[in-house]
Assembly symmetry: D3
Homo-oligomer: 124 residues x 6
């Protein structure tokens, strides 16, 4: 029922890119960067009760609803870093079909394709 | 990686209320009712690749994004029927805070409160 | 290609309820009421180029996307006043399924059911 | 009241580009590609009750609400393939002003401009 | 450029209802209640840089975009507690017309009417 | 309570770019261009009751909710043309965090960064 893992979520989600991402956010606005690190990650994400893989699959679905490609790519990678398989990520994105319809879901699979590096399909 | 459970998702999610819910949808529109049963549930939900509990936690988060209280209540119950604990449902709803903000999340916890039957708080 | 009908759209859409609806809007805010009458109806709706029935079917679909039950009911009635059959209204609402998903569409059919006075199904 | 045309909607909407579009979707995800072809097009779109031109004008309006430029361009072309005039497409997009406001509508007219090949205006 | 007022924003916005509102949120979920108090109010709202009246007028507009009537009522009252006149609140809500369209704005003026206690118009 | 300034809002907001922007809108659709000039600006924006700086800060927040980067940039410039400081614009954008969550707000600060010409951060 609880998540005993002491590793901060942002270490897992961002991996080696964490410092670069945090610097980019801090340059946008130092308060915004602090809110994301201290509140979104170190408070909400690090709260026990749900495992990190489930949190990241939920984050992916919510980013499909928002239509936010760059963040979606970050959290597809984050979900996989937290242990999700490609099949599980596909399953999470396909759950958006009955709730959000096809256009947002198609856009999400474009992001997944880019993440997986399958460059054999022309960009839309 | 696959979901070997042969029980249809809608049997688990709706439980004893399945017939009543399907009849209500069919009365709204027979084609709509058929689309929900045959496509949303028997095709998308029953697709292997992700376990049903994860699908329902994702459904809850997407319903928070849509602001759809009646369906959210149905799928909070569905998530618990599929094995989610109250703590996991709370964790899924709290993941909406960084992605959707507070108003939609507060409304979702009102629905959870009603589902749990905790009538000690006044309705908003 | 143009709509030669000189009847103002709001006469057709609102019918005998026009005065009551306009008074309600004016009481909310006199400027808001004037904007809706002079701009939304007498400028945008009365612009030629597309027939009124098509405009109202589009309005219904957009109100499904917004999740606005009272206005949806007004414009389901408006679409029918402009010549749409019940089958055409159902067809317009079902087009929302692939674009918006099921929850908003189900809510729209609840509004249609109320409009059609089919009280044989329990409210959600 | 019914649409007797036996031509599948996707033949009309996509025309010569159908195979290319379906291959792109299948490459994103084979299940997603199948859902769009078998459910969105061959089930929902091919359902009688509303003519295809009206369905496509509604699709355009819903895509304005979603802010999905690539799909909007596809369905502006689809509406015209189904018999809509440029004036009717403009009328459908302008109906978005009172329901969705100006920013989404302006973005939609940018897509229309690109479709019509009027390259005399600078990109935004 | 900065807001020297040491009074916490939530004291002004909620006034005598603060304790009741916080208790309701805490009963929904203790973490959610703490996030709203410590992050939304004591961190974001109490950050200097913009006066509280402007923050609350912005909050009202954002709540119109979300379609959240109960929170909108709270922040209409909050804007007035922070010094906004009724004319300024009306001006803020009318700014939603060009950006969000009429349906959400009409719903917002219904909330304003209820707040102002003008019961001479029938509810929708 | 009223705004005695006789300068049209669009003169302040658009400054030297007004003619170019209006021509671009007129080329998209002459009716759309007229609606924006005559209704959005000369009717809604020029309505007294709220000062122009507040209107533009509200417009910025609403454009964050819509996820419309080009218009957001126009109205960040408009807010500053109407007297808002950079600190006030940052304060308005940060108010979106509790209401809309982080992804839309981060995208908004990207637009602010581009407007301020701070090219020292890599594009996302």
């Amino acid at each position: 029922m609880t998540d005993p893992d002491p590793t901060p979520a942002r270490d897992v989600i961002f991996g080696a890119q964490q410092e670069r991402i945090q610097q980019r956010l801090d340059r946008l606005d130092t308060d915004l960067g602090a809110y994301i690190r201290d509140f979104a990650y170190d408070t909400v994400y690090d709260r026990p009760g749900l495992d990190l893989k489930s949190k990241e699959l939920i984050a992916c679905a919510l980013l499909v609803s928002l239509g936010s490609p760059p963040e979606l790519r970050t959290h597809i990678r984050g979900a996989m870093n937290a242990g999700a398989t490609e099949a599980e990520v596909r399953g999470a994105l396909l759950m958006c079909v009955p709730y959000l319809g096809f256009p947002r879901t198609v856009a999400a699979f474009e992001v997944l394709r880019q993440h997986l590096g399958r460059a054999d399909a022309p960009a839309p």
